[in-house]
């Protein structure tokens, strides 16, 4: 199961740059702390793919880290299947923005990370191979991450995350730093993967098109401290096309406007 409730969480960081000065907006800073998330609540249904969209620095990565258990909220709590998240665990796997593969392990060893307690060696090898094949990295299983291209590294990381059969996949900017074509292919793969396994998937992105093409639902966060600006179900058939779906295109223009770009150039 992968039902997530984000229950009124706030997150403040200590402001290392400067102390408060007279004339500061008291809502933005209290003490010498910066408020990144202010009383954010949302819910993720089991099996849903939600894209969280927002400008950089809006706290969406912070939100993800809190859901994953890497960070703790200053106030509020996150519940996964009615249990409060206290620490990271292999039932909710975080797929990193930059490469999270362990560089001293081969693709095979990386994918096997979450399966290291399986006692049956044959079953374990079979499962590792199954997921390597799923992301089409067969023949590369004994390569080290630095011997792979950026797109292959992301796919290997995806295979590693899926191999532990998590209830929830948390992806932080999964396509950043990929070239355009690899980006498009990877996006398609993630959508297909989600249709296939049906896990709750949270994708953080700053790319409006990615969010509109991929998400079952789109959540827009912005401001400082960050609040939820828009939470919209996207009931469009896949594959989605802005030309064929005028309402999708209109939503896209609205979002551009909302995020401060008047024309979708």
């Amino acid at each position: 199961m992968g039902h997530i409730v984000v229950d009124h969480i706030s997150r403040a960081y200590r402001n290392r740059r400067r102390r408060n000065r007279v004339g500061d907006d008291p809502d933005l800073r209290y003490g010498d702390r910066i408020l990144v998330l202010d009383d954010v609540s949302m819910e993720f249904q089991d099996g849903e793919m939600v894209c969280i969209l927002g400008p950089s620095g809006c706290g969406k990565s912070t939100l993800l880290k809190i859901i994953a258990g890497f960070d703790r909220p200053s106030a509020g709590r996150v519940l996964i299947d009615d249990k409060e998240v206290a620490r990271p665990g292999s039932d909710h796997i975080f797929v990193f923005q930059h490469n999270g593969l362990l560089p001293w392990m081969t693709v095979w060893e990386n994918v096997g990370l979450g399966l290291r307690h399986m006692s049956d060696r044959d079953a374990k090898s079979e499962r590792i191979m199954e997921f390597i094949e799923m992301v089409e990295l067969e023949n590369f299983e004994h390569h080290y991450p630095h011997q792979l291209s950026g797109g292959m590294q992301r796919r290997a990381e995806l295979a590693r995350a899926l191999a532990v059969n998590p209830d929830i996949l948390i992806m932080d900017e999964p396509f950043s730093g990929l070239d355009f074509l690899t980006h498009m292919k990877m996006r398609e793969e993630v959508v297909n993967m989600h249709e296939f396994i049906g896990k709750t998937t949270i994708v953080v992105t700053h790319d409006i098109d990615d969010a509109l093409i991929m998400g079952d639902r789109i959540v827009i966060m912005s401001g400082q401290p960050s609040i939820v600006k828009l939470d919209r179900q996207l009931d469009f058939a896949r594959p989605r096309d802005f030309q064929k779906e005028p309402s999708l295109n209109q939503l896209r223009n609205e979002i551009f406007f909302m995020l401060g770009v008047p024309y979708a150039v």
Binding site: R87, P88, S90, I93, G100, L102, W104, L113, P145, H146
Partner: protein, 260 residues
């Protein structure tokens, strides 16, 4: 990592010939200086005398005996430093409170030359191998602690998050993340500190012991045999060169090849 990975590898013949040219040049300069400096053979022996007397030392077994004695002390002292310094470095690199507690003390002890410890070590450990081993330990312990701390604290925090995400135990964090991640840096640290240890053994053997290359040099000086002194120096240099080659080879083994 090493200088030869970025450029095209030179053919092995060139790699062998070029250093030999440099050594040949050194020998030539040495020989010319010895011949034309006007100093007597007793003060500045030329390469020929030195190699003849090295033959004597090898033939009567003293050179091998002293070399083995020195290598033994370096090995023991260096292993002790590795066993103590690397775990301490890992702890300091990972655990900030420990770093705050111990690091200033280490930075205080580190600049004190091992040679300054000679009087105390002789008093504490008496005559024999122990004070020499202690000095070698001191000389390589602090560099190892400092560089291990730096290496471990520089490990990308993402790797620890990955470990936490896959429910790594504390032991798995050490064995599967910290140790492999610190390996390239640690090999470099070992390479530097073994050279320091070898540097100090000679000084350590000039006190309190009756064997070793340092003793050979001191004893030959007392006997005014500068050719033997130079033999001792040459053997020290050759072994230092071999140690460096061995350490560089270590840097190329499979477990450290991941960083490209």
């Amino acid at each position: 990592m090493s200088d030869d990975t970025t450029t095209m590898p030179h053919p092995w013949k060139l790699r062998l010939v070029l250093p030999c040219l440099a050594f040949g040049g050194l020998l030539l300069v040495w020989d010319l200086l010895a011949r034309f400096s006007g100093w007597s053979v007793d003060v500045f022996p030329g390469p020929l005398q030195v190699f003849i007397s090295m033959g004597e030392l090898i033939a009567n077994g003293t050179l091998v005996q002293h070399t083995v004695a020195s290598l033994f002390r370096v090995t023991v002292g260096f292993y002790l430093a590795v066993l103590g310094g690397i775990p301490l470095g890992i702890m300091l690199g990972r655990w900030e409170n420990a770093r705050l507690l111990i690091n200033p003390m280490i930075q205080f002890l580190r600049p004190i030359s091992p040679l300054a410890w000679i009087p105390l070590s002789m008093l504490w450990f008496g005559i024999g191998d122990k004070p020499a081993v202690f000095l070698i330990f001191l000389s390589s312990f602090f560099p190892l602690v400092v560089s291990t701390t730096a290496t471990v604290s520089a490990i990308n925090p993402i790797y620890f998050q990955v470990g936490a995400n896959f429910n790594f135990s504390r032991w798995e964090v050490i064995s599967r993340i910290i140790v492999p991640a610190m390996m390239p840096g640690t090999i470099t640290a070992l390479r530097i500190s073994v050279t320091i240890a070898w540097l100090v053994v000679v000084a350590a053997e000039m006190i309190a012991v009756q064997s070793g290359l340092g003793y050979l040099i001191l004893d030959s000086r007392n006997a005014l045999r500068m050719d033997y002194v130079m033999d001792g120096m040459i053997v020290i240099g050759v072994i230092g060169l071999l140690l460096d080659i061995i350490m560089r080879r270590l840097g190329r083994i499979e477990s450290t090849s991941w960083n490209g």
